[in-house]
Symmetry: C2
Subunit: 135 residues, 2 copies
């Protein structure tokens, strides 16, 4: 049911330095930076095979990623897996008593539907499930 | 130069519970557990697209993963990227002053060659590079 790793999210203090690191050492081609003000982040991503690495810097310290950085420092933040049927996946997880952050899908970038499983429900890993729009 | 995400390593306290979680909720098919005594771990893996998730439980508290768990608790431990030419990748990283754990390749599972970049050299993410044997 997990189709692929859709992306890994890395929390960083300096998105330009991190993007340069992956470009210079690994030939990565990071996208234009995008500010998502309601999440309090600026993000860029680059492709690795069928997956992407998303570099995320907070725009304010009280945003979720800002708080994460203050507590944990830079590093892995979350993984997103593509699923075919997000409603069914959430229903299974709820039925099995797994702790969720989002009990029903939210709309994400490009019309995708996404939801987070709580890290306490997934052995310490903040896990996002993504269902892409058809076509 | 990063061909794909080869695997994600998750550190867990109870490998059987974690494997059951992914099997029951996501239809994952974890491999037989394998003890790697010199690393002080027992591991199982399951496929997600072109990548694998590796669940790792320490067999002793003084192993690297045991110490990681004591310090950080369960969760993401490392990411491994496949590269075509590990020597060239390490040479570039060294030339650019990136902090490495392994300055030259080690032999890993199935005759693969692998090396770790220090998390301090990669924005807090313990990053493994893997070159697979030909064929």
């Amino acid at each position: 049911m997990l189709g692929r790793i859709y992306h890994l999210g890395y929390a960083v203090e300096d998105i330009d330095a991190a993007a340069r690191f992956y470009a210079e050492n690994f030939g990565a081609q990071p996208s234009e930076k995008e500010v998502v003000e309601e999440q309090g982040i600026v993000a860029t991503m680059f492709r690795v095979g069928e997956s992407q690495i998303e570099l995320v810097q907070p725009t304010r310290p009280d945003s979720p990623v800002g708080k994460f950085l203050a507590k944990h420092g830079e590093g892995f933040h979350h993984v997103a897996f593509q699923v075919d049927d997000l409603e069914a996946a959430l229903s299974d997880l709820k039925g099995n008593g797994v702790q969720l952050i989002d009990e029903s899908p939210r709309i994400g970038a490009g019309g995708s539907r996404m939801a987070f499983v709580h890290p306490k429900g997934a052995f310490g890993v903040l896990t996002e499930l993504v269902e892409l729009p058809e076509g």
